[in-house]
Symmetry: C2
Subunit: 361 residues, 2 copies
Amino acid sequence: MSMTLHIEDLPDLARGAAFLGSGGGGNPYIGRLMVERAMRETGRPLELLDLEELPDDAFVITTAMMGAPTCIVEKLPEGMEAAHSLRRLEEHLGRKATATMPIEAGGVNSMIPLVVGMRLGLPVVDGDGMGRAFPELYHETFHIYGVSGTPMVITNDHGDQTLLDTHDNYMMEWLSRGIAIRMGGVAYIAEYPMDGATAKRVSVSGTIGMGLRIGRAIREAREQHLDPFDHLIRSMEGTSYSPARVIFTGKLIEVFRRTKDGFALGTVKIQELGGPRVMTIDFQNENLIAMVDDEVLAVVPNLINILDAETAEPITTEELRYGQRVKVMVVSVPPIMRTPEAIAVWGPRTFGYDVDFEPLT
Amino acid sequence: MSMTLHIEDLPDLARGAAFLGSGGGGNPYIGRLMVERAMRETGRPLELLDLEELPDDAFVITTAMMGAPTCIVEKLPEGMEAAHSLRRLEEHLGRKATATMPIEAGGVNSMIPLVVGMRLGLPVVDGDGMGRAFPELYHETFHIYGVSGTPMVITNDHGDQTLLDTHDNYMMEWLSRGIAIRMGGVAYIAEYPMDGATAKRVSVSGTIGMGLRIGRAIREAREQHLDPFDHLIRSMEGTSYSPARVIFTGKLIEVFRRTKDGFALGTVKIQELGGPRVMTIDFQNENLIAMVDDEVLAVVPNLINILDAETAEPITTEELRYGQRVKVMVVSVPPIMRTPEAIAVWGPRTFGYDVDFEPLT
């Protein structure tokens, strides 16, 4: 069932996207403003296509921002950068895209394809290649299940463009990251071109709708004076993003963050409320692992979210501040993200942690 | 007058190219082996086209290696990398090249276009865009006199390829340097596509022939037991590379060299033979400035060459060793390389030296 996205849906979607971003993906606020402007200027809502209804012979080009979330807030995009990348890739391939799709469900990258869809009059597929946010371009179900990320196009705010063809998706990540860094830390890409049959096989389905549902639940709880955590967890029950649970409540007592090699890297420490325990969460753009002493309480690819303790508003890694009162929530992810092939690409060991992934039960 | 280059010319050309490289451009020996192999395998000599005889409607795509000379000696090219870049650029532009041309006259980059010419059956224009070697891709008479370096293609030894379009040639250098670094420190490029009329206007003419002449003079002096420095200087008289003179004789007492940001950077100190003076030469791939105390004895764009004191064989910056006995020679360069526009791009101030360029008289 296709869905139409209106301007009034955007605040909920942005909030839900920040949640699915698992701390990363960049602040969706800026992306939301870009979509709002595009909707106002075109006077149109946006058509979302169900992944399952995508024709086999459709042609999908995914669009996104790449770079450190810390750079986006300093360097606002003009709005057409990712659209230019898509058009350039179409020209190179000699084939017009019939839809665009997010590469990740979280943060600003849930919004960039909507901007592209609005600006180019293209529908957007309700799905993505991460089911959340992840730091690197091979952290994609597209990659895990055999799609080449290249040819790929990168565009910056000065109209500088590069088109890449690489022998694998790791080299694509390595080269394009270097280019994004030299383009100023943030750039706009079109990649993983694929037909509809492939997209149906390799994508995480329904993640834009899921973002909307999550964002709406947090808002409704506030409006109806419900416990936002209970309401949020109940709203996810029965979806592929469950179970979910709160694993820690406390106060931020330390944030260490730096932008290095094009990523926002860091660690945050949370002092338990009314208790002696301290939780440590490491992040590389996204939250990767939550530990108390030697006990691992949550780990990728499950979502690890730091939420405002009163409102359940998600706090992205670049917005973490000393003194914030927070709850930490872990959320299970869809089966396509937890296969052995998937864990080999984005399980805890791939980020250097000597622990196995255990599904949340 | 066109010229045909035979396999037996290559040692002289390589030696002369090392000289024109002014310490940089990479060791031409490896490039020479690549040309030799191509000549043996094809059984053909190579046709050199005089710049002046190039038809106005010719289409020239320049080819080269880019990266730190220190990396080439560790990572031998397969031989077709630059040809792949040229072919990819042709495909992008929808136009076949009628010739290729060096971007620099020095070192390995005097040889790469010959490999491309042999492998693709294309003539090579006897000229280039530097009249020597320089470290960066906007250090080009092509750039100085208004040609866009992009679209440009970069290929590495794994077949990874990027095509760049940038808003200016400085951004081209900045992005492509980052790509070359991530490709392993060395990559192979096709750039500055231009028609014959443009090439005639913006190129340094006859520099392959000049390399041959210089290399031959050094060899002849050795074979005929002449003073190689006198013979070399006499052989350049009346050409656009004159005057030339020996400015220092001594022993290498210190070499400081590192590979940083994709360049070979360093300083060499030479103790005067039978005297108290010490000459200091700074280099960034190429020798940039030669000083004794505060006195500047030679500076870019003039050639600064460190030559073996016995044989006048040029020593490239990556081959400098403690204890070598050397003479330092400065050589004037063609007028097209010394205009105010040219000095603004590659004069001493552009490398951070607070001195003016003075023509050698």
